[in-house]
């Protein structure tokens, strides 16, 4: 396999990692601080994509559509948290799983009622629709480079928020010890709502950008949700740093695994077998990675909760 191909696949892995980070950051904060398993996180990703598509069509601009969809989804997240999810904090994880699974079904049906059963159109803006020459003779889609840049910028912004602002301090306090943080006078309810809305906004950003390169359709959140849970388990619940490292690891492992393993198997077996077996093992790589990390570090790489 040529070097240029490995570079391109490496960038693809980085791009997947960055998307997973956007999803995982919100999910890990919600799990770490509120102890809430939220399966409906994928639905917020889907709503973000659909809203981006709708606003982009109205305003005839992908960027404006995305900028509008993120706060809109954050608001929906806040509404969801105050109305439905608040009752779940006191309950055990299984109840939370069942309830939020019900929310998945609810949002899938709602989206279908509002937008119809067919997939919806969303494509990158004109100035990002072409390719960029990353090396002489090697091109890479501009939109994917933009996604990588945006994702890394958001990671930086999130670090700043958590490490350097008052809200970030409250979040970190809540993540370490919720009860003590409440006893010290931090308004836990308000913090929770803000954290949830933040997670929803990040999911919407991921969904809007993903929708431009993938398909915007009902049920699009479920696939990425599974990967996101793998990421937060590997990274450690409640840790945004863990979410970043975990996401990049999973993104690279999944992409390179899917691409390199069939090649590796192709050296040993017939092409048809290599494709089938190599592909199957390639898709298992991230779960093997998760199992490996848990064996060595049961709380994940940067597990924060006591």
């Amino acid at each position: 396999m040529e070097g240029s191909l490995i570079l391109v696949q490496g960038l693809n892995g980085l791009q997947l990692g960055v998307m997973l980070f956007l999803m995982a950051a919100g999910l890990t904060l919600v799990f770490g601080i509120m102890d809430l398993i939220n399966l409906a996180h994928g639905s917020l990703y889907m709503i973000g994509a659909y809203l981006t598509a709708t606003f982009a069509a109205w305003l005839d601009s992908f960027v404006l559509g995305l900028l509008l969809a993120v706060p809109a989804t954050a608001a929906i997240g806040a509404l969801l948290e105050t109305s439905a999810l608040r009752t779940l904090y006191a309950r055990d994880h299984l109840d939370q799983v069942l309830a939020t699974f019900g929310l998945i079904l609810f949002f899938n049906a709602l989206v279908r009622i509002v937008w119809g059963p067919s997939a919806v159109f969303l494509s990158p803006p004109e100035f990002l629709a072409g390719q960029v020459a990353i090396l002489p003779g090697v091109t890479y889609p501009a939109i994917r480079l933009a996604i990588i840049v945006v994702g890394l910028a958001v990671a930086l912004g999130l670090w700043f928020l958590i490490a350097r602002t008052r809200l970030g301090m409250q979040i970190r306090a809540g993540a370490s010890n919720r009860d003590m943080a409440g006893a010290l006078g931090i308004d836990i309810k308000r913090t929770f709502t803000i954290v949830f809305a933040l997670g929803a906004g990040l999911a919407a950003l991921a969904g809007g950008m993903a929708g431009s390169i993938l398909a915007v359709q009902v049920g699009m959140g479920e696939q990425i949700l599974i990967l996101t849970f793998v990421v937060i388990v590997i990274g450690g619940l409640g840790s945004v740093k863990g979410a970043l490292v975990g996401a990049l690891l999973v993104g690279m492992a999944d992409t390179l695994g899917r691409v390199l393993l069939p090649e590796l198997f192709g050296l040993m077996f017939r092409p048809s077998v290599a494709d089938g077996v190599g592909g199957a093992v390639g898709s298992m790589v991230i779960y093997l990675l998760m199992a490996g990390v848990l064996l060595l570090r049961p709380r994940g790489l940067f597990g924060a909760r006591a």
């Binding site: 040529e2 240029s4 191909l5 391109v8 696949q9 693809n12 791009q15 997947l16 899938n108 049906a109 279908r112 119809g116 059963p117 067919s118 997939a119 919806v120 159109f121 494509s123 990158p124 629709a129 072409g130 390719q131 091109t139 889609p141 501009a142 939109i143 994917r144 431009s212 390169i213 993938l214 398909a215 915007v216 359709q217 009902v218 049920g219 699009m220 696939q223 992409t255 899917r258 691409v259 092409p271 048809s272 494709d275 089938g276 592909g279 898709s283």
Partner: protein, 391 residues
């Protein structure tokens, strides 16, 4: 109590019985299709096309009143089988129809055959039911799954293209698709550079597209239904791969329900299908116009198949004059219908014989994406499995 009441009651009862005898019988159709989830646009189109057909037939199928009972199979075989049994026992369905997916059809057919009723497929056409496992209770008025791919294969070979790269998801329909393509492409003596099977449901094809750009074949043929196809075509355009490699698809990947989601990335792509909105006959013209008026969108080939299914049931009910299954089966097998695809009849394995068109994606007068016929690839095309059918 005075004398008038019992007499009046008796008269009323006799009157109702007379009216009851004059009312036509119902022919019950169990419309079990996918109305939710990512695959819903196909099921919704089939249902809408079928219902429009019933409307154009003034609510009657032959001498009977049409009674269509709808249900959502959610693309799950177990749900589909449960619904089939419920339709047959509780609703008294005479004909089961609507299924989009071959795996569901294969699961549902035994229940229908056991109940000695008819299964009329408006879409699913697995090779087993065309060949070895052909069944007198099963009818397909849509296509045999390989047909569209065979058509593209023949066109690509005829166009003189010699180095082709194939892609499909790794599941039975994907393997059938590429096998069907090769059945006609290989006859032209061209080379298949690589035959790549990706994970079912995979949405990111950047790795595969990068491989293709490195290998530089003359053309790529892909079969990615639904969301997979939308993602693939968008990423193909974003990678600029179309500048050096020509992309061919099946009619399914470029059907009317998918085109709006793909956008300009689909413009100019050649594909094959058994129908196009511009097939030139009166039935189709009326179908497309009234569908647009009623539903506010251009119909897809799934809707056209649903419409033709209604016409087939009507023709069979007219000829049989009864709901007896054996008579209906005979009548269906011999039915000749003027459908949206022109004059149609069924082969001895109960699969429809039809033309396949070469289509290209263009923008219509209103700037919306649609398909336009560029030529005919196959005329009166049967299927490759009929020799294995003992019927």
């Amino acid at each position: 109590m005075n004398h008038g009441t019992p007499l009046a009651a008796a008269v009323a009862v006799c009157g109702t019985m007379t009216i009851g005898a004059a009312l036509a019988e119902d022919l019950t159709i169990g419309m079990i299709t996918t109305l939710s989830g990512p695959g819903a646009s196909l099921g919704v189109d089939i249902r809408d096309g079928f219902q429009l057909g019933i409307e154009h037939l003034d609510g009657k199928l032959g001498p009977f009143d049409a009674k269509v009972v709808e249900a959502d199979d959610q693309q799950k075989p177990d749900v589909a089988v449960q619904l089939t049994e419920r339709m047959l026992s509780r609703e008294g369905a005479d004909i089961i129809t609507g299924t989009v997916w071959s795996n569901l059809a294969l699961a549902m057919l035994p229940a229908v055959a056991r109940a000695d009723k008819i299964y009329l497929s408006p879409n699913a056409g697995p090779s087993q039911l065309a060949g070895e496992q052909c069944n007198r209770h099963f009818f397909n008025v849509a296509f045999q799954n390989d047909g569209t791919h065979e058509a593209v294969g023949k066109h690509v070979a005829d166009a003189g293209i010699r180095k082709v790269w194939l892609m499909a998801p790794n599941y039975p329909a994907g393997q059938d698709a590429l096998r069907g393509f090769r059945r006609y492409y290989d006859q032209g003596g061209g080379e298949v550079v690589d035959e790549v099977y990706t994970q079912l449901g995979q949405l990111d094809y950047s790795a595969e597209i990068a491989n293709i750009q490195a290998a530089k074949p003359d053309a790529v043929y892909f079969f990615y239904p639904g969301g997979m196809g939308i993602a693939f075509m968008k990423q193909w355009a974003q990678a600029g791969a179309g500048k050096e490699v020509k992309l061919f698809g099946s009619g399914f990947s470029l059907s009317q329900d998918i085109l709006p989601a793909v956008g300009d990335a689909a413009l100019g792509l050649e594909n094959a299908a058994n129908w196009s909105p511009d097939v030139d006959n009166e039935v189709n013209a009326r179908f497309v116009e009234t569908f647009r008026e009623k539903y506010g969108r251009t119909p897809s080939l799934y809707a056209a198949q649903g419409y033709d299914a209604a016409l087939f049931v009507d023709a069979a009910a007219k000829a049989a004059g009864s709901k007896d299954t054996t008579m209906l089966i005979d009548a269906l097998a011999k039915a000749k219908v003027d459908g949206t695809r022109g004059p149609l009849e069924l082969n001895r394995n109960h699969f429809v014989i039809q033309d396949y068109y070469l289509r290209e994606v263009v923008k219509d007068d209103e700037g919306k994406l649609t398909n336009k016929i560029k030529g005919v690839i196959f005329e009166d095309h049967g299927d490759a499995y009929i020799e294995q059918c003992a019927m």
